[in-house]
């Protein structure tokens, strides 16, 4: 081993307090970035996950200008389902309704409640909204209704088996009503699903709205997450139905409005994390300056026995590299332990949506390398100061 590496390591090992302080500074900088990533990127990814699974799918088809697609959804869903990468495609129609509910003689009413019409068989394949039913079961018949938990509470405590009356205005302007039996209550973490809506069979909604065969959107789910494939399939679909004035968006596009704010927030939080890492570099500068000051005598002796300035520079830069390597290793290790914990426990905060935790290896490596180089950079000034010590001055302490 080169004597400078040996000397740098020994000097640090014999100044454990300084070593631990400097390593902690680097580790904490990395840990802050890991925690930020797990929490904020986790929330962002969780929102995308839930939006993909409940509202938009991997590809979301709607009309370019109109609120509804008049042509039968069967044409489009059949096209999608012929694509091997597509798991399922399902139509959705939405409207709003006033809801009346009588319970133990008490009359409850809610106005303008969003109503989502689904085709149960294909919806179960395409979306995961059916998994949010925490009581009862999903829509299975034309008179069954799933009530979002918030709506259920607002109506005074709707339970499975209760009877609700939906009142809507059809496209002809006439008021229509229909009774439904509650088959399920839907609840999602963080309210990312249809907690403030009700879900009924799409044919019932079409009938009430007098919009036979119409849908608002087609929800397309791929076999696995594959953004490139989604873009390709979208292009092919739009080319196949170029005259239908349809709009097909990937999840990133369809959820753009919601996600834009989050992205800025994540960028800001990451900036704070990197600022923290920068602050750790100042801590290293301070600690290394203390090390240099405490090693004046040794520097003088080394210079006297022939060490050149570059040798002294190398010893202290190597110390920065050792601090950086240990700090980056420890910070990454603790950060990964935290990430694994968050992933294995489906971490969530006070009932909000479970974080979508991923190991972003390029980012993990980038953070560790950045911390290492910062520690090395931080060592340059103290090392330079060490080289400026004239042997005769350093020897005065001898």
């Amino acid at each position: 081993m080169d004597y400078r590496v040996n000397l740098a390591a020994r000097m640090l090992a014999n100044k454990r307090g300084s070593l631990i302080g400097a390593v902690l500074a680097v580790s904490i900088g990395i840990l802050v970035i890991h925690v930020n990533f797990v929490i904020f990127q986790g929330i962002y990814d969780a929102i995308i996950r839930d939006m993909t699974e409940y509202r938009f799918g991997d590809i979301f088809v709607s009309h370019e200008e109109e609120a509804t697609i008049e042509r039968s959804h069967v044409v489009y869903t059949n096209w999608f389902e012929r694509v091997p990468l597509v798991k399922s495609a399902t139509p959705r129609l939405s409207g709003s309704a006033d809801i009346e509910f009588r319970s133990m003689g008490k009359f409850n009413e809610e106005f303008d409640v969003p109503v989502v019409g689904v085709e149960p068989v294909s919806d179960i394949l395409a979306s995961k909204i059916h998994t949010t039913i925490n009581e009862g079961q999903y829509v299975y018949a034309r008179n069954s209704i799933v009530v979002g938990e918030t709506v259920a509470e607002d109506l005074g405590g709707v339970r499975v088996g209760d009877n609700l009356k939906l009142i809507m205005t059809n496209q002809g302007g006439e008021e229509v009503s229909k009774r439904f039996v509650v088959t399920g209550i839907s609840k999602t973490a963080g309210g990312q699903g249809f907690d403030t809506s009700v879900i009924i069979h799409i044919d019932s909604l079409r009938s009430m709205l007098d919009r036979p065969d119409e849908s608002n959107s087609i929800f397309v789910k791929l076999n696995e997450k594959n953004p490139e494939a989604a873009i390709d399939i979208r292009k092919q679909f739009l080319a196949a139905y170029a005259n239908d004035d349809l709009k097909a968006q990937t999840i990133e596009e369809s959820a753009e409005a919601t996600l834009k704010g989050f992205r800025s927030g994540i960028a800001m939080i990451n900036l704070i994390g990197y600022f923290g890492m920068g602050s750790s570099a100042f801590a290293i500068v301070t600690i290394q300056m203390m090390l240099v000051n405490s090693k004046t005598r040794e520097i003088g002796v080394m210079r006297a026995i022939g060490a050149k300035r570059k040798d002294i520079l190398m010893v202290f830069i190597l110390q920065g590299m050792i601090i950086g390597a240990i700090g980056a290793g420890a910070g990454t290790g603790i950060g990964l332990a935290y990430t694994t914990y968050a992933k294995e426990t489906n971490m969530q905060f006070q009932g909000s949506l479970a974080l979508e935790v991923n190991y972003n290896w390029p980012k993990i490596a980038e953070t560790a390398l950045l911390a290492f180089f910062l520690a090395m950079l931080a060592a340059i000034y103290p090392s330079y100061r060490a080289t400026k010590l004239q042997p005769v001055e350093a020897m005065r302490n001898v």
Binding site: V301, M302, G306
Partner: protein, 234 residues
């Protein structure tokens, strides 16, 4: 090869400026021959440490020349001076000044490691440690051995590069009289065995009764001989 290994020609060293000027060395000229065991004596503040710094290339004279092993050193740059110190000089300090983070062996190996010597550095160092009687201490941390042992290790470190001159600054100043006597004896033995030039700076002439030559420093001037018999210019 010239027999003179060190020559100082009219070396002066002035510290400070204007009225605060202090002339630590005043027109000192001296020469040392290969294999000589030379004692530089003088009272505190006489300028002997400044002289040692000049000889050790740790400081540059205000005027005059320091010629080491035939080469004028005052014109060398910092890197060249470091290399010259490493190759031509061995240092033994008052407090040994081994690096406390290293073992005794690593301390002795250090000058050769700095030099990047192609020799078997480890074996050279071990051989020297055996010669100075520290074979059982080689793997101990240098701050875990006694003062006398540390000074022996320092002598081994000073000799490991086979320098032209070994400079010893008060090598016994921090030791009890028995240990000091052993160190003096060791230095003499090594000097004789290796035909090694030793320049020892001390304020205590009596620790070194048997030397080749004594140079006395007084008020920045160098005199040949002891204070009672000294002649100007050594």
């Amino acid at each position: 090869m010239s027999d003179i290994v060190l020559e100082l020609q009219n070396v002066s060293r002035i510290f400070g400026e204007g009225d605060a000027q202090v002339k630590a060395l005043d027109d000192v000229s001296l020469s040392i021959r290969r294999g000589e065991f030379v004692l530089i004596v003088g009272s505190s503040g006489s300028g002997k440490s400044t002289l040692l710094n000049m000889i050790g290339l740790l400081d540059k004279p205000t005027s005059g020349k320091v010629i080491l092993d035939g080469k004028e050193t005052t014109t060398l740059n910092d890197g060249q001076v470091s290399q010259y110190r490493n190759e031509k000089l061995g240092f033994v300090f008052q407090f040994a000044n081994l690096l406390p983070d290293l073992t005794v062996l690593e301390n002795v190996m250090l000058p050769q490691q700095i030099q990047g010597s192609p020799e078997d550095i480890r074996q050279n160092a071990i051989d020297l440690l055996i010669k100075v009687g520290l074979e059982d201490q080689i793997n101990k941390r240098s701050n875990k051995i006694s003062g006398g042992q540390a000074q022996r290790a320092a002598i081994a470190r000073g000799l490991v590069n086979r320098p032209t001159i070994v400079l010893a600054d008060e090598p016994t100043g921090n030791l009890d009289s028995v240990t000091a006597g052993k160190i003096v004896k060791l230095a003499k033995t090594m000097a004789k065995e290796l035909n090694q030039t030793f320049i020892i700076v001390t304020h205590d002439r009596h620790q070194f009764p048997d030397v080749d030559r004594v140079i006395t420093i007084k008020d920045g001037k160098a005199f040949s001989g002891e204070e009672t018999t000294m002649e100007i210019t050594a």
